[in-house]
């Protein structure tokens, strides 16, 4: 089934650090869960009943900027782990040579 290498790839895509012990237990748990889920492969889906649940449809709205109060802006920015003025601060993305 799934290998440690596969798992490392998934963890990289999902941006999660895994240690060796995590990987070992996750491989086993994946086997158990995927083994269970694999029964879906036996279901005949040729009828193609796949569709939406109920009457839910896509809803569109105009893409317009709505203003928010300074108080709301402050509240939002205050939750950021690091800010500089009205900006959220992050580490430099492009390295300098």
């Amino acid at each position: 089934m799934i290998t440690v290498k596969d798992l490392e790839h998934l963890a990289k895509l999902a941006r999660i650090d895994l240690n060796e012990a995590d990987k070992e237990s996750l491989v086993k748990e994946f086997d158990s869960i995927l083994g269970y889920v694999d029964q879906l492969k036996k279901v005949d889906v040729s009828m193609d009943a796949a569709g939406r649940v109920g009457a839910v449809k896509n809803v569109m709205r105009p893409d317009v900027v709505e203003s928010i109060s300074n108080m709301d802006r402050e509240r939002l920015l205050d939750e950021a782990p690091d800010r500089e003025g009205d900006f959220i601060a992050v580490k430099k993305i492009i390295a300098q040579d």
Binding site: L13, S32, Y36, V45
Partner: protein, 478 residues
């Protein structure tokens, strides 16, 4: 005066406050005393809000000036994944331990307008992933009926808060059974509305095509009152529906017709106490004039495997937003990308990591057709079975869970054993149909009486039939 919280309902409390028998402040104080006495053992609440009495004073004013509604002054508990502006909403996770909500969820705003008292936020499995609250970063919630057992999950704190008389009602969220299963295990009523019935704006998302917010209460009538207050179309949640979205015509002339999926129940593997309680519930409906029909839901046997593909797929994308940049926990690495890796490893618990990775797997190229597309096709077949059944019945009855509350730690090692808890509840989320769990007898275990639940499912939009049958079953209407 001593208020009899255990036998109090929303209507009784409203009448008493209106008549001046007790005030909202006194009622709130009574609940706060219960919480103080019981919460250290049960761990239903993660936080009791320090402004509860101030809210109660404002409610009392509304009784004086004549603007009180049925819900004014009624104290409630809210699950830790529902946003109340200025309060912490951690979703049971370390990654949001210090996150203060910047706005009110729609359901919270609606209840605030009614003058409801928010007593505190309740414990839950991290990001609502689990059936026992054992996945909470803040310790397990214990079952008020037996402290060595789980309260269920993921809304275990909300169910336990109501069951211990620590709130008149509570709000929960239900993605695969997270309102109904803990309600069943704690002996209270839990209701999941039709998908789109209640706005999800301000609920921390888990599986967006499955999540719904609903009430947990002691009576069906209380849940109905709360649902009526929180439901409705909302511009901030494009999936919300209105009352005329679904039209349904009842089959039963006098009383609703109830369908029982016998083969599916056998497949679910019922504890003997559960089959006995279920059989007696069906007899009780028969004696009240309900017609009972056997129905077949052949594809429901695949519901859990379908759920364990679709749900983690949605989890992996919903939880991608927790990156330590805009809000929540931040861990420092040597560069920006290492910040992500460290933050997410430190902030997420084991089950969240497992489901994020599983979701990443089923959505990855080469597996998408085999897992995600196939699961959606089978979901369509399951929905077709239900729609067909509803051509000849009005309600579908099953037990809520295959067995009563299990011991803390009992299902810890094998994730699939825990997943099987949701075998009867998950179909309502996959089909988008409304469902309710109501108390239905008990099972004796180690000298204690553990509650059991009966689940009724209805057509989309037909909450009315659920409430009617639920009230009649519990003897709430004479």
């Amino acid at each position: 005066m001593k208020i009899d919280l255990h036998n109090l309902t929303i209507r009784k409390a409203h009448a008493a406050m209106k008549a001046g028998e007790f005030s909202a402040v006194e009622l709130t104080q009574a609940y706060l005393e219960v919480i103080k006495a019981k919460n250290k053992d049960i761990n239903a609440y993660l936080e009791v809000f320090d402004d509860a009495l101030d809210q109660a004073k404002a409610a009392d004013k509304r009784f004086k000036d004549g603007t009180a509604t049925l819900l004014t002054g009624i104290p409630c508990a809210t699950k830790d994944n529902l946003l109340i502006q200025g309060k912490i909403a951690s979703a049971g996770s370390k990654i949001l331990a210090d996150y203060h909500a910047t706005y009110d969820a729609t359901v919270i705003a609606k209840l605030k307008n009614e003058g409801v008292i928010f007593l505190g936020r309740t414990n839950m499995d991290e990001f609502a992933m689990g059936s026992s609250t054992e996945n909470s970063a803040y310790g397990v919630t214990k079952n008020p009926h037996d402290l060595s057992r789980v309260a269920g999950g993921s809304s275990g704190g909300s169910a336990a808060a109501v069951a211990m008389d620590g709130a008149m009602f509570a709000l929960g969220t239900d993605t695969g059974g997270s309102i109904r299963q803990p309600a069943s295990l704690c002996g209270v009523v839990g209701f999941k509305p039709t998908y789109g019935g209640v706005s999800r704006y301000g609920a921390i998302a888990m599986g967006s095509s499955l999540d719904q917010i609903g009430p947990i209460g002691k009576t069906v009538a209380d849940c109905e009152i709360v649902h009526n207050a929180i439901h409705g179309q909302d511009g901030k949640d494009s999936t919300t529906i209105n009352d005329s979205t679904y039209k349904s015509e009842r089959i039963g002339r006098k009383k609703p017709v109830i369908g029982v999926p016998k083969a599916f129940l056998e497949f679910g593997g019922l504890d003997s106490s559960v089959s006995e309680a279920f059989a007696s519930a069906i007899r009780s409906f028969e004696s009240k004039g309900y017609e009972i029909k056997q129905i077949d839901l052949p594809n429901s046997a695949h519901a859990l495997p379908v759920y364990y593909v679709i749900m983690p797929a949605e989890v992996s994308s919903n939880l991608a937003r927790f990156d330590g940049v805009r809000y929540g926990l931040h861990m420092d690495g040597k560069d920006g990308i290492e910040d992500y890796f460290k933050t997410r490893r430190a902030g997420f618990g084991k089950e969240s990591i497992r489901r994020i990775l599983l979701g990443t797997y089923v959505l990855s190229s080469g597996y998408y057709d085999a897992y995600y597309n196939r699961a959606n096709a089978v979901k369509g077949l399951i929905t077709q079975d239900f729609n067909k059944a509803f051509e000849s019945v009005d309600l579908i009855a099953t037990p809520t869970t295959p067995s009563p509350a299990f011991k803390i730690g009992e299902k810890g090692s094998d994730p699939v054993a825990m997943y099987l808890e949701d075998i009867f509840t998950v179909t309502a989320n996959l089909t988008g149909m409304p469902a309710i769990s109501i108390p239905c007898g008990t099972a004796g275990r180690d000298g204690k009486q553990l509650p059991l639940g009966l689940q009724l499912t209805a057509r989309p939009g037909d909450e009315a039939t659920l409430f009617e049958a639920g009230k009649e079953f519990l003897g709430e209407i004479q």
